[in-house]
Homo-oligomer: 283 residues x 2
């Protein structure tokens, strides 16, 4: 979706989509570099249903391949006209730094007890949302649109990314197992600090707090029992609805930024449809 957003942003201003192709590939190479390294850190055996690079080859190869992919991403990103080379790379640097910082904060959360909703939203903003915003902003510059248009597209992308990640949290618990592609309840099993869990910890009192703590700290429990019990607690605490409200808030902000963009309505409509498809997905 990141290369598609970059190309659509360029096309929005009637920019040459051909000129945006190499940077669009660069964004995708960058995203896959982060996946290679994230998979090492998460010790993930599978990615898109296939063995991860470190599992298939070894960890050193996954580290080095990721490194060289980041360099190749810069090479591809440099395939723009001279007059926008520096601003495009500046956005890319900022985006890449944000993604790395977001991943580090996410890992830090594992060892922390008290993560607030605000801290969580800042983490997913860095880890997920800035790359969507950055892709759109780069596409806008390649389309020769002025800075304030690029900024609006960035706002659209960042808010879309935040909504997308909240949808991810919701799907991990409430997704259809036949369509989700990953194990439903995976976040619950690993105590991952998602919006749902952070809200539940915030809201649970008395017996519900005791019950939640039990499942968070209990060892040797049956995964299915834990997923069922915690999902039931989420339902009683109403955290799914809170997550959906928060998600809709971001989605509205995204669409409101898009509304303000000075471009043809039918092209804006295409981006709007793309965004809506992202947010009503089942996997």
């Amino acid at each position: 979706m990141r290369p598609a957003l970059l190309l659509m942003a360029c096309d929005l201003f009637n920019g040459s989509v051909l000129k945006a192709l190499a940077p669009a590939v660069g964004i995708e190479v960058f995203h896959n570099f982060t996946l290679l390294h994230d998979d090492i850190m998460d010790k993930a055996p599978l990615r898109r249903g296939k063995p991860t690079v470190h599992a298939k080859w070894n960890e050193s190869i996954a580290i080095l391949s990721g490194d060289v992919m980041l360099v190749k991403a810069y090479e591809l990103m440099m395939e723009v006209e001279n007059d926008i080379l520096r601003p495009v790379l500046a956005i890319f640097n900022q985006t890449a730094t944000g993604v790395c910082e977001g991943q580090q904060i996410d890992m830090n959360f594992e060892a922390l007890d008290g993560v607030s909703v605000a801290e969580y939203l800042e983490m997913i903003r860095l880890k997920t949302a800035v790359l969507l915003g950055g892709s759109l902003k780069i596409g806008t510059l390649i389309g020769n649109a002025p800075e304030e248009q690029a900024e609006l597209l960035y706002q659209f992308g960042e808010n879309l990314g935040l909504a997308f990640q909240l949808q991810d949290d919701i799907l991990d618990v409430y997704g259809d197992p036949d369509k989700f592609g990953k194990l439903v309840g995976g976040d619950i099993i690993s105590n991952k600090k998602t919006f749902l869990l952070i809200k539940a910890i915030e809201l649970a009192e008395g017996l519900e707090k005791e019950e939640l703590d039990y499942w968070l700290y209990a060892e040797n429990v049956v995964s299915e029992d834990k997923v069922n019990a915690v999902t039931d607690l989420y339902n009683r605490l109403g955290v799914r609805q809170l997550a959906e409200e928060q998600m809709n808030k971001f989605a509205e902000r995204a669409l409101s930024a898009l509304d303000k963009v000075a471009a043809e309505d039918d092209k804006k409509q295409a981006l709007k449809i793309f965004a809506e498809k992202l947010l009503v997905r089942e996997n």
Copy 2:
């Protein structure tokens, strides 16, 4: 030494050394990024006498810190005038790709039996020498010197880097334990495919070949015995002298490229002294 070479190359053409400071720091940040990741791959506990990042914190932190250092290196490298931004980054991309490829080839060598001297020299060219060449070439461009001067400086740096790495191989076996800073014989203990070992495997025949094979494949041997025996074999086969001859050949090529550079003699002299100090070092 890499930032120093970059600054000296800039100064050689009376370029503003102040303008070269940020890229010089960028080269050092890049070099340290490679050390962070190499130390993970080598499972090295110490670097410069202190715990490595992955040993002190953890591996994920070392991977991510390295990643973000590479991005910071690009940011610093971008602090050049617009008219040389693209060529400077192109050299940097090429250099970074070479360093990663060299590291991968070095790791591949561990599992290979027959590595030739030519393959070894190509590996150290990529892993060590291109970064010295790249540093000098970038400094030359910042000094506003023409392309053919940058190319001469690159030749100087690449050959200096090759000589430097051969000197490293020699020091690892023949260095003074009080001055070397690392364990003398470390390469022998780990069967590292250095110029000395590759030449020894090439030259050993009959009883000497049997003896070398014994030490290469024997398990549970006393490290000191292995170091003494293999060093003795190296002496009998004369591989130290061959390494020194090869090193001197590269050093001569480096100095001959420097001779051709169109710059003031006293400034060239400073680079020559720098190179000579690198090659007669004891650690």
